[in-house]
């Protein structure tokens, strides 16, 4: 399959939106675009299954064109299982996001245009094998968020939008320094070639922090997580879904694919710092969530905690833990998107997100409440949903790392699940059960588009939860390549 289609389709959708007239056309175009994206990514998955057994190269469907020849910049794309998992996640979230924003009427054309532009950035990022194009797409995905939050957001939206944009731009500035360092010590932007050459240890140790922290800002690495609560809570529903479901995954993927994969020696020497920060994020995030009263803040802080698992998995550097990190990225992406969708549905009806003001919603809006419960249970790691599989894999993988302190960190991280259970059960219980305010008696349940969006995401969550081996087999060859790289680093020492 031609991977560039993944960039061209959303781009064409965005352009056609510019020329559309009326709300109806805007909706049709964006829905059609997102359906085609989903179809494409599923097609990509099937093609990948067929070819995986016959082809031995680490990347499939590679394509390369020279772009800026004097600087050695190529448009080089290719995918392995990890990127396909991310692409599928993106396609699911994009479609759900479009459906959830069906009622978006003010400046709808601009709204959907920016959503599509954001997805161009995400797809491009996941398929890039050239560091410069990767960086290009990373930045493409930032600015739409600023406008989405600032224009259509709620609360202190301008402040949050600015904070988010500046922090993410700061992150990508750090990433840029890391990339420049890699480039000048290998003379190429091509990731596959860089992986073959060995960068001197001192160079790696200098640039690894830039790249890792830079991407880490995107994925809420402590202490650079402060944009997450503000950004999420001010964003409109679809933008929250995109932020948590896609944007934060850009960071995790970058930490894994760029920082760890290309600079394995430094990954070994810095892993203790990563684990320290990740453990702090997990515990701090969980306890901070306990104190929140606003549903969106609850989900935002729990995202900090959950993304901590991704970083923990990467930092542990064992095969199972990295597998778990990828699983957690997909699972968290779907689960938070679902959670934000549910919160958005509740908010659009009750006009409040404060837990104390809600209650008894199960009686009037059974569908929405069920969705809310499913998202919550997935978040706390109930077996049968994706959250359990992902977190379990991370813990198992982490335990495989024999270092005593690392095991201590793993135990601490495990313990955070109890806290998660407390805040999730409390929030769900208060929101959908208990006494209901009279004002809510006339609320209507989910509309078809909301049902479809939620169904799509639940489908993903349940498939991963019931048959985790499917996703595991998909990403395993990708993690094998990364493990080889990390193994090479150990034997060199």
């Amino acid at each position: 399959m031609n991977l560039s289609l993944l960039i061209i389709v959303p781009l064409l959708t965005a352009v056609s939106l510019l020329f559309s007239k009326g709300l109806k056309q805007v909706r049709t175009f964006s829905l059609a675009g997102s359906v085609v994206q989903l179809a494409l990514s599923i097609f990509l998955l099937t093609e990948y299954w067929q070819q995986r057994s016959t082809v031995t190269s680490p990347m499939l469907f590679e394509d390369s064109y020279t772009w800026f020849k004097p600087l050695g910049i190529n448009y080089h794309v290719g995918v392995d299982g990890i990127s396909i998992a991310m692409i599928l996640l993106t396609a699911f979230v994009v479609m759900a996001g479009v459906l959830i924003s069906w009622a978006q009427e003010t400046w709808s054309k601009e709204f959907f245009f920016l959503l599509m532009l954001l997805s161009v950035g995400a797809y491009g990022f996941f398929i890039s094998l050239d560091l410069f194009t990767l960086f290009f797409f990373l930045e493409v995905a930032v600015i739409p968020k600023f406008l989405l939050i600032g224009i259509w957001g709620s609360g202190k939206k301008e402040y949050s939008a600015m904070k988010l944009a500046l922090m993410l731009m700061g992150g990508s500035a750090l990433v840029f320094v890391g990339l420049a360092g890699i480039y000048y010590n290998t003379q190429t932007f091509d990731m596959l070639q860089i992986a073959k050459t060995s960068i001197p240890l001192e160079v790696q140790q200098f640039f690894f922090p830039f790249a890792f922290v830079g991407f880490g800002v995107f994925t809420a690495l402590f202490p650079f997580h402060t944009w997450v609560p503000d950004g999420h809570s001010s964003a409109p529903t679809a933008a929250s879904m995109f932020l948590a479901g896609i944007s934060m995954k850009l960071g995790g993927y970058g930490c894994l694919r760029v920082a760890t994969f290309l600079m394995p020696d430094a990954a070994h020497s810095y892993s203790w710092i990563i684990i320290l920060l990740a453990t702090i994020a997990i515990i701090y995030g969980a306890f901070a969530t306990m104190m929140q009263t606003d549903l969106k803040y609850i989900n935002a802080y729990s995202s900090v905690s959950h993304c901590g698992f991704v970083l923990l998995g990467i930092g542990m550097l064992t095969k199972t833990s990295i597998n778990g990190a990828v699983l957690q990225m997909v699972s968290h992406g779907l689960m938070t998107a679902l959670f934000f969708a549910a919160i958005g549905m509740i908010y659009s009806r009750t006009h409040t997100r404060v837990v104390a003001q809600l209650g008894g919603l199960l009686k009037v809006t059974p569908f929405i409440s069920t969705v809310f419960v499913i998202a919550g249970l997935c978040s706390l790691g109930l077996p049968g949903f994706s959250g359990f599989v992902a977190e379990m894999t991370v813990f198992m993988g982490s335990w495989q790392n024999p270092d005593g302190w690392y095991r201590f960190a793993t135990i601490l991280a495990c313990a955070s699940i109890v806290v998660t259970a407390v805040y999730i059960l409390r929030a769900t219980g208060k929101t959908i059960m208990g006494p209901m305010s009279n004002a809510y008696e006339t609320l209507t349940d989910a509309t078809w588009n909301e049902k479809l969006a939620a169904g799509l995401l639940i489908l993903g969550i349940v498939i991963i939860g019931v048959a985790p081996f499917l996703l595991n087999q998909l990403i395993a060859p990708g993690t094998d390549v990364i493990m080889q790289q990390l193994g090479k680093a150990i034997t060199l020492k």
Partner: protein, 470 residues
């Protein structure tokens, strides 16, 4: 000899012809400003196209005048900028008393720049520089009824005179120590003895004034604010661009024996320039002053690229100036349309701009994104190529600081975007219908901002003409 002469000095000749043609038109019967403007813009378009046809390399007058592919390209970039500015100032010039004179002044300035770019001798270079400065000061005074405009002209002429004096002092010392003024012979005589270093610092200060490098930037904001928008955009894009072109080539050829010295100076000057430009830009409320300080910060990034001392450095500078022409002129274009229609020039007036003028808002936003270096606009490529060139010497701390400064600059560009899209305003700028010519100019800028980045052969072409320290 004559064909050589005509072909090599083709672009200069074209400008001279236009200037005299305008003079004759002016002497003839009275024309309405509109017909006049149509003729001028047509001529400028022809001039731009003409610049691309049958160019040749060579030297004239005992190396006083040189021409090669890079110089032709640089002149073409300036021609393009001139055309865009001319189209943008349609509304302003339509009602002006002295439209023909305005063009004569600006074109004389351009002529000076062309000679400066093509000069193969420090004297020729100086002559071109002077020719490009004095008419510009007169043009800065062209808002005839405004006192601020004359004040701006006064400040410009004083600071330029001061800069020229420094430059000339430096040149004379160079001549004293080397015995020659020809670019091709100078490098053999530059040994780095103290007097030559002193001369170099004087020349650096002279150049620094022209392109407003901190600490020689103090004139910039006042002049930008006072001068008419057309002159401000000319100053910020064309005048600076031309001096930058010469600056790079002088540094890379004449002063290459002391590259180690000026490289360190650039290290400090570039960071200082970026910091000061950024910090002052945050606090501005007048749009022209804001663009003045942001252009100072941009110059800092260009200095980083120049410091790379490689073909990549030079091509990044030329490429960046080309992108800068489009993006900065797009921003100035919107400002000049708004200022011509409503007289509003402050940033807070732009609150709620999107509700009344969506198209202009998007244009301004895209231009600002390009200035900030946000993809997919061309500014992204321009800015990061400069940083890549700067990093080539292993100065990772330099580019780390510069990259973090990019974030500061995002803040103030986004501040305007915020005002346009998110802030509400009781009295927003009313709906503006853009006249045809400015609209064409804005469309051209938009096409440039989007296309120049992606179309890599433009960069590759510039790179094929560029050279580093030889």
């Amino acid at each position: 000899m004559w064909t050589d002469f005509l072909l090599l000095m083709k672009q200069e000749m074209a400008l001279v012809v236009i200037i005299f043609f305008l003079l004759i038109l002016k002497l003839g019967k009275d024309r309405s400003n509109e017909s006049y403007l149509k003729i001028v813009n047509g001529l400028l378009l022809l001039n731009l196209i003409f610049g691309f046809i049958s160019n040749r390399d060579g030297v004239l007058f005992n190396e006083m005048f040189r021409n090669n592919g890079l110089m032709v390209l640089e002149k073409n970039i300036l021609n393009l900028g001139m055309l865009i500015i001319s189209l943008q100032s349609w509304s302003w010039l339509k009602g002006h008393k002295h439209t023909p004179e305005f063009y004569m002044l600006l074109l004389s300035t351009m002529l000076g720049m062309f000679f400066m770019i093509s000069g193969g001798n420090l004297l020729m270079f100086y002559l071109g520089l002077e020719l490009s400065t004095i008419p510009l000061a007169a043009a800065a005074n062209f808002d005839l009824t405004k006192r601020r405009s004359s004040e701006a002209a006064m400040k410009l002429i004083f600071s330029s005179a001061f800069a020229s004096a420094l430059l000339l002092f430096g040149i004379s010392m160079i001549y004293g120590t080397t015995g020659t003024l020809t670019f091709s012979q100078l490098p053999q005589h530059i040994t780095g003895d103290p007097l030559q270093l002193f001369a170099f610092i004087l020349m650096l200060a002279g150049f620094g004034f022209k392109i407003s490098v901190v600490p020689f930037h103090l004139w910039t904001a006042d002049v930008y604010e006072g001068a008419p928008v057309a002159v401000t955009s000319f100053l910020s894009v064309i005048s600076k661009g031309a001096v930058l072109f010469v600056f790079v080539s002088v540094l890379y050829t004449v002063f290459r024996p002391i590259a180690g010295v000026w490289y360190l100076m650039f290290f400090i000057l570039s960071l200082l320039t970026i910091f000061v430009g950024n910090l002052f830009a945050i606090r501005q409320n007048n749009f022209k002053r804001f663009l003045a300080f942001s252009s100072i910060a941009q110059i800092g990034f260009i200095l980083i690229g120049i410091g790379g001392s490689s073909p990549e450095g030079m091509s990044a500078v030329v490429y960046f100036v080309l992108i800068y022409v489009f993006s900065n002129l797009a921003a100035f274009g919107v400002v000049s349309v708004v200022s011509a229609a409503t007289g509003k020039e402050s940033i807070s007036d732009y609150k709620g701009f999107y509700k009344t003028n969506p198209v202009l808002s998007w244009m301004l936003t895209i231009a600002l994104f390009s200035l900030a270096g946000v993809p997919p606009t061309a500014g992204f490529f321009g800015k990061y190529f400069l940083l890549f060139a700067g990093a080539a010497k292993g100065n990772y701390w330099l580019i780390s600081i510069a990259a973090l400064n990019l974030v500061i600059s995002f803040y103030y560009y986004l501040r305007i975007v915020k005002a346009i899209f998110m802030a509400s305003n009781a009295e927003p700028i009313e709906k503006i219908t853009i006249p045809l010519f400015p609209r064409l100019a804005l469309y051209a800028c938009m096409v440039g901002v989007i296309v120049v980045g992606f179309v890599s052969w433009i960069y590759e072409y510039i790179h094929s003409l560029s050279y580093g320290l030889q």
